[in-house]
Amino acid sequence: MKRVSIDPITRLEGHGKIDIFLNDDGDVANAYLQIPELRGFEKFCQGRLAEDMPNLTARICGVCPEAHHMAATKALDNVFHVDPPPTAKKLRELFYNIFFATDHTTHFYALGGPDFVVGPQAPKAERNILGVIAKVGMDIAGKVLKMRRDGHHLIKMMGGRAVHPNWGLPGGVSRGITEEQRQEIEKLGRDAIEFAKFSVQLFHDLVLGNTEYVNLIKSDAFTHQTYNMGTVDENNHVNFYDGKIRVVGPDGKEKFKYDSQDYRQFVAERVEPWSYLKFPYLKQVGWKGFVDGIDSGVYKATPLSRLNAADGMATPLAQAEYERFYATLGGKPVNPTLATHWARLIELTYAAENWVRLATDPEITGSEYRRLPTETPTEGVGCVEAPRGTLTHHYATDERGILTRVNLIVGTTNNNAPICMSVKKAAQGLIKKGQVSDGLLNMVEMAFRAYDPCFGCATHSLPGQMPLEIRLRNAQGDLVGRLSQHLT
């Protein structure tokens, strides 16, 4: 069997590589992501106070500390058996939607979007945020910078710190907001809605107006028939902060809907000898390998999955775009992975609208933003939708609240198997009988970038942006070729 390695993947937090194994005929047999593990976090946490977890886990990941902070805080509610007052829940959801809007903005403009806005055939050096500015105009730079600045400003204002939030407590949050702060949050939220509308229009003009791009999105090379997971509210609308976990099949029908406390009944984690990362799958469907279909327990948890797993969006502009999305792409579920970029903009719109909805809620400035826990701590699960997928924190403590067990399923891990499948499919189209076509690197990159993946995300050492490299190995594992490119 030949082996092709793409090592390491650019634009990933942490270092990873892709191995592509070829069969004796020189065709792609399998493709896997290999990610160095950050060792010992669970052990690191054991023996510490459970209430430290929102601050500790926020440091796991440089990309989405707010998501870990929120999942940990919700887990503590359950560990300490305390239900936060309505103002606390609304403040948390407001904070979380501000984070989501900021995060999705960055992904669309700096990372995933350039593939489309600048064009998949454009030179690599132009497919970045500078290329977007060159194509769309200078104004976009100021808009993106303002959106990020506003989001970071409000996250700091509410969360207490610019670097990592220091806010979530079992039963609520450590501080509320004043009327003056509320007015600022509302004002910037309205700006965010305008930014979301602008971004959606940009996608319509530059991507949907181009038949070639639409065909690329719909192409079989980037399509998978898997289960879809996402959190929904009581109306089965997408919710990032709270709700039930809903799983729909490749046929679009609801398969499961469950409380996050029960996740172990529905999700199992497979271990493969060649990977540090586990491969979550739907326990009751079963692991059938890295394969599509209704009998395979592989599921995706992405912006696209969340839309597929829901019946709609809870806010008007997002709902209108949700309807356009399915009308354009042929009804539910939408399976092409590249549609995730559009789904992300629909979520950006929802996040901005929900931001304003919550900022104008009469209870948001209430003074009851924490309920003190009084019961003996035991065990609990906290779940939120991270930008990259459903994020689960599960803690158990002794009677003093000291951690005895910690389990985390992070957003990207949910998508570990589908990412491998997407890379394999992209590679299959471009490697025939040992011959590698031009564009393999770009196509493979586009395949995994749609997932907005984030692996091994705690390290920050230089150097970080590695060249994308493919190593070809023959059936005996010998190196027979090498492809690489530096990416900006």
Binding site: L12, P36, I60, T106, I129, A162, G456, Q465
Partner: protein, 191 residues
Amino acid sequence: MSADFRGAQIPPTAPTSVEPHRNTPSASGHAVRLKTLVIGLGNPLVRDDSVGLRVVKHLEQLLPAEANVDVTEDYWGGLRLMERMIGYDRAIVVDAICTGAPAGTITVLGPHDLATQKSASAHDVTLPTALAFGRQAGAHLPPDDAIQLVGIEAEDILTFSEECTPQVAAAIPRAARLVMSLLESHGANDP
């Protein structure tokens, strides 16, 4: 205008100080007062990845109270790092580095010297790209020749721990003194 330590490597066993170069006097004969940021990058919970944060903490103890320098921490390069530099004339970034040199080796680099920076992640772009983006957006940012990266060669960036490995820990005071030298070379410590 900058003292050029770029590319200078200080191995773990070398003397700890770098001869400071005074800032070029301005036309009026006084050192130019630059608004300066020193930023430590890293994860406080990951062994040697935390070294940048530890160096800037050490630096804070060395800096005179009246120094015209802001010292801060962050966990992220690229866009976020660029945004932290907005409003400053000069920036020094302290971070772990992995080049294969002996652990604890300190290297001074410019923003373009590393083709492969951590700052390019799933959610980011390289620092040069981020700086170009910020400048196009009209942000006041330090010019490239006023941005220095102080890299401390790491040994272990994959283990959760609140202590650095010994060689890297030993480099912390040396790196802090090096940053002091870089600052003094620009007169930033002058009252």
